[in-house]
């Protein structure tokens, strides 16, 4: 897949545009924001439907409580802030007031992960997948590009119950055509191969594809899977990868503890045991820097992923030899 010519659109931008579009046909949609409507792009909805938009100010916990209350009145509520504050400040409200009563609140959080950049550790949310995945009744989606983000927003609006959508600040290449078949619970095979399977989500899908290209130059055929639905997760696609490739490497701009890697590991451990090597942030907070510098620092750019994959493939080959000897 040559992405050099692909248009670059941030998933937060696709979110804002698709939400404003949905507002036309869905009069039940109400949108909340916490003083970040320009950054989260809920401003598009606010401009089109000012009566169905409420700016809650810098008060995220209150916003999630208000969202729950609106949902009890039959509204489909989209609530946005940065991932740090939407899930961090308001986790208890999400648990008690949204997930326990199973309300129709969609938390669409932008500026997730390292690619926030210069704002640094206070703003680089690296624990949100874990925090949201652990909650009963919550669906967790991490779209890889603008097309998938728009599809995730439509799917969330259709879905009855709480949904978390993790979105990025950085502009990234558009990977998928308009007719990309998105569904909650489904992953996508983007590149076939049987030496190793890379399973990625969010901005890391592009990096994983580029890493597979680098590895192909070394003679390795690496499978690449886009896994936008972290919960529920596509168990069959994971098990097919485990059986056909013999090893899995997961890639996410998130703590390895509790994220995509652990979600994949849970399936593999129970159904189709093979080695699962998890790339992500290893038990540390972020720091200021450009997205490019930060991804490279954590080995989460294409070159870093390829280096880790080569090391894993070498170890596996050595183990295989030993096993045969």
């Amino acid at each position: 897949m040559d992405l050099s010519e692909a248009p670059r659109i941030a998933t937060r931008e696709a979110y804002g545009l698709s939400l404003a579009e949905l507002g036309k046909s869905r009069g039940d949609i109400v949108v909340l924001d916490a003083d970040l409507s320009g950054s989260t792009r809920t401003k598009y909805f606010a401009q089109a439907f000012p009566d169905r938009f409420f700016n809650c100010g810098v008060a995220e916990a209150n916003m999630l409580g208000v969202a729950a209350g609106l949902a009890t009145g039959g509204k489909t509520v989209f609530a946005s802030s940065f991932a740090m504050f939407a899930t961090g400040k308001a986790w208890e409200q999400i648990r008690q007031s949204v997930c326990v009563p199973e309300l129709n609140v969609k938390i669409c959080a932008t500026h997730a992960g390292l690619t926030v950049g210069e704002d640094g550790k206070s703003h680089q949310m690296l624990e949100d997948i874990t925090l949201m995945r652990v909650l009963p009744h919550m669906t967790v989606l991490v779209p890889a590009d603008a097309t998938e983000a728009a599809a995730a927003v439509r799917a969330a609006a259709e879905h009855d119950g709480p949904v978390y959508i993790r979105l990025s600040r950085a502009s990234t290449p558009v990977l998928f055509p308009e007719d990309h078949p998105f569904a909650i619970g489904k992953g996508h095979l983007l590149r076939d191969g049987t030496d190793l399977a890379l399973i990625a989500c969010g901005v890391e899908v592009v990096e994983a594809l580029a890493a597979a290209e680098l590895l192909a130059q070394d003679g390795f055929a690496v499978r690449v899977i886009d896994m936008p639905s972290i919960k529920p997760i596509d168990e069959d696609l994971i098990c097919a990868a485990a059986e056909e490739c013999g090893a899995i490497m997961t890639v996410e701009e998130h703590q390895v503890c509790g994220g995509l890697g652990d979600a994949v590991g849970e399936v593999v451990g129970a159904r189709c045991p093979v080695p699962v090597h998890k790339l992500g942030v290893h038990d540390t907070f972020g720091q200021s820097g450009t997205p490019t510098e930060l991804l490279a620092h954590h080995g989460l750019d294409a070159a870093g992923i390829a280096t880790s994959a080569r090391a894993l493939l070498t170890t596996l080959a050595a183990d295989n030899k030993k096993g045969r000897a």
Binding site: D33, D35, L36, S37, G38, S39, N55, C56, G57, V58, A59, A61, N62, M84, F85, G88, K89, G117, E118, D119, G120, K121, S122, H123, Q287, S288, G289, T290, E293, L294, H297
Partner: protein, 276 residues
């Protein structure tokens, strides 16, 4: 106590330095928050020059004063003050927000730099100030705890939990300085989510609360002196400021909350500040 002539001159010189540093730092970083700290420069300089007992020699002293920047996004001005007070070289300011820099996009606690608390998530600072004030009281030393906050931050519920606790514990050694500029990210605070009269609110919560012109260094000095004479109540200075103060095209403009001036704008700003 009146502000002596020499001290007043030093405060004014420091505030000018803060404003210049903010423009240079945010311009060099290509991102960051110039508006808020430009508006805070006068009251912050008064605090750091005439009141806060923090210098390179006492940075490790347990009984020195403490400072928390609750509205952590305004740290460009804070870093300039720390540098001007000698805690680290002023040249380092241009490393702001860069990969590997000690001057992170939002403050990170550092004994070396004299940064007493990590902030950046609004609403967290004042509670930590309550804890620091309790610790100082337990240890029986006379250090004072200063917390900067803002009108936007006053929308966070945690601020009011902290305010309740501070009054309940009678923390006279705690002072909050609220940057009240009627601006937040999405526009003017009164349009987005009006926090109304913060002096009345803090008073109702049991504080000694004062409205102050946040650009009048003598008035700020007087209010900080008044705070020191309190024996039972924490003090709140509601500092009325203009965001972007000193740079005409940034004044009262919500758009300059978190956007970096380009080279041309930075040159124009520095010219207005008298150092272009």
């Amino acid at each position: 106590m009146v502000l002596s002539k020499e001290l007043k001159l030093e405060v004014e010189r420091t505030a000018r330095g803060v404003r210049e540093d903010i423009i240079r730092m945010v311009n060099a970083a290509g991102c960051g928050h110039p508006g808020g700290p430009l508006g805070m420069a006068d009251f912050m300089a008064t605090l750091f020059v005439a009141h806060l007992n923090l210098k390179p020699e006492n940075r490790d002293a347990p009984d020195r004063d403490r400072f928390i920047l609750g509205n952590g996004h305004t740290c460009a001005g804070y870093y300039s003050l720390l540098a001007q007070r000698g805690l680290f070289p002023r040249e380092e300011l241009l490393e702001f927000r860069k990969f590997g820099s000690r001057l992170q996009g939002h403050p990170h606690r550092s004994a070396e730099l004299g940064i007493d608390m990590s902030t950046g998530s609004l609403g967290t600072g004042l509670s930590v100030g309550v804890g620091m004030a309790l610790a100082a009281r337990l240890d029986g030393h006379g250090s004072r705890i200063y917390v900067a906050s803002s009108d936007g931050e006053s929308q966070e519920g945690q601020i009011w939990e902290a305010a309740t606790a501070a009054a309940h514990y009678g923390l006279a050694n705690l002072t909050v300085l609220v940057d009240f500029n009627n601006v937040q990210i999405d526009g003017h605070m009164r349009d987005v989510m009006d926090v109304r009269d913060l002096r009345e609110k803090y008073t109702a919560f049991g504080w000694h609360a004062m409205d102050v012109d946040g650009h009048d260094v003598e008035a700020i000095h007087q209010a900080l002196c008044d705070a020191k004479t309190e024996s039972e109540r924490p003090s709140a200075l509601i500092c009325h400021t203009v965001i972007g103060k000193g740079v005409s095209f940034m004044e009262d403009q919500p758009g300059w909350h978190g956007v970096a001036p380009d080279n041309e704008q930075a040159a124009a700003a520095l010219a207005e500040l008298g150092t272009g």
